[in-house]
């Protein structure tokens, strides 16, 4: 996927999910906080997800999935989610504090 198309797809997906923002986490989102601390006081090199722009999260996941971004473990995990699933997770985390 090119950067332009990715951005357009993201903007669309984010607009869709923002409208239907539910309190309940989308499928897969609950697992992330096993490593990505919901509590910012935790001392860990793993970056938090809560409150980050959805596009940042979704782009990182897309790049891990394609291999454009090197990871230790996220490349293996990103491959388990479709773009739509990833975008829903990204949108939900963007709304969290």
């Amino acid at each position: 996927m090119t950067g332009m198309r990715l951005t357009a797809a993201l903007a669309f997906a984010l607009a869709m999910t923002a409208g239907a923002q539910a309190a309940e986490a989308p499928a897969g989102a609950a697992s992330c906080s096993g490593c990505h601390a919901a509590n910012s006081r935790v001392d860990t090199p793993v970056p938090p997800l809560a409150g980050r722009p959805a596009a940042d999260i979704a782009t990182a996941m897309a790049e891990y999935k394609s291999g454009a971004r090197k990871g230790t473990i996220m490349d293996r995990i990103a491959k388990g989610f479709s773009d739509v699933e990833t975008q829903a997770i990204a949108a939900w985390y963007a709304q969290q504090k």
Binding site: A25, C35, R41, G80
Partner: protein, 422 residues
Amino acid sequence: MKSHTSRRQFLKTASAAALLPLPAIAQSAGPKVVVVGGGFAGASAARFVKQADPKIAVTLIEANPTFTACPFSNGVIAGLRPLRAQQFNYEKLGDAGVTLAFQPATGVDAQAKTVTLSGGTKLAYDRLVMAPGVDLRWDGLPGYDERAAAIMPHAWKAGEQTLLLRRQLEAMADGGTVVIVAPANPFRCPPGPYERASLIAYYLKTKKPKSKVIILDAKDAFSKQRLFQNAWAALYPDHIEWVALSKGGKVNAVDAATKTLKTDFADHKADVANVIPPQRAAAIAQTAGVADRSGWCPVDPVTFESKLVPNIHVIGDAAIMGAMPKSAFSANAQAKVCAAAVADLLAGKTAPEPRLINTCYSLVAPDYGITVAGVYRPKDGVLADIEGAGGVSPIDAPRENRALEAQFAEGWFKTITGEVFG
């Protein structure tokens, strides 16, 4: 999401409620969820059911007011960290509005929907979440019972057993032989015996270089096998020997008095013997009728409700989760999905189809970490691997990646214990 203020007010009210005696809680108006077991699965479930719907009265039943975590306890055995770094309490869960009952659960009446505590109190539930973990099978390996475990520790439940194994390693003379007996699948923490062998080898190489570790295995293959074996060849070529099932590794009986492990081919005499026996879902799961003849608990892969008894959910090591391994990460991930499902079901809604992730870090040395990961979805009545995802750390990854994974392992432990107990 509730506004910040109303959430804070709720917390105050909930803290006060948490101090009330149990019978008062049992009469509260909202739906009642009881959780049995305060490990990674149960404590997470209690916390997230309460968070999903503060109107639900949540009671966590746990025998021990101090939780001692198994992940990273191999580091305690190798003298790399103190046991207190493994220990947590339930105060913050109480602050979050979860009622705590520090007594063993002794019975479940699925008809009346009550759980009985050892003190005789009966707690009513609308939904019961069972996360009792594993029992070691004292009938699973001839000669290995609770008394033998005081001489040949299992150290497969963290605490005094962990310290016992550490003391035995410290007391062992240089040139000694440590034998680890690894069980057949399934068991708690599939890479655990091999991480343990690695960190014990690290200790021996550093402190007692003429000694070695032998793993007598009831299997021909194990989790992250090539990664472990490559690392052993590089780091501990003289300190670890793995004996597979097909090479006579299966231990058929043990003799505690002489620390002897007996296989079809030989009697192995150990200076330190660490026997990890076969396991099954803890006794209360058998009592409740949620375990099948395998000794483990079959569950629906969407809600984790028992396939044998309605209104009881089973999560964590006790449950049969298909492709998902028995790990702390899995337990916590399952708990969060289960909590949302329980809240949905109590509200008359259908639980959505979940996706779950597992990540297991193992340390081969303090600065050498490796992982296995998986992503799972319900398929044909169990949780199945999503194909193309997951797998182990690259076999040819540079040493910097191993160091990074060791740092991430530490971060994972702080994060997950923070989420559950912090």
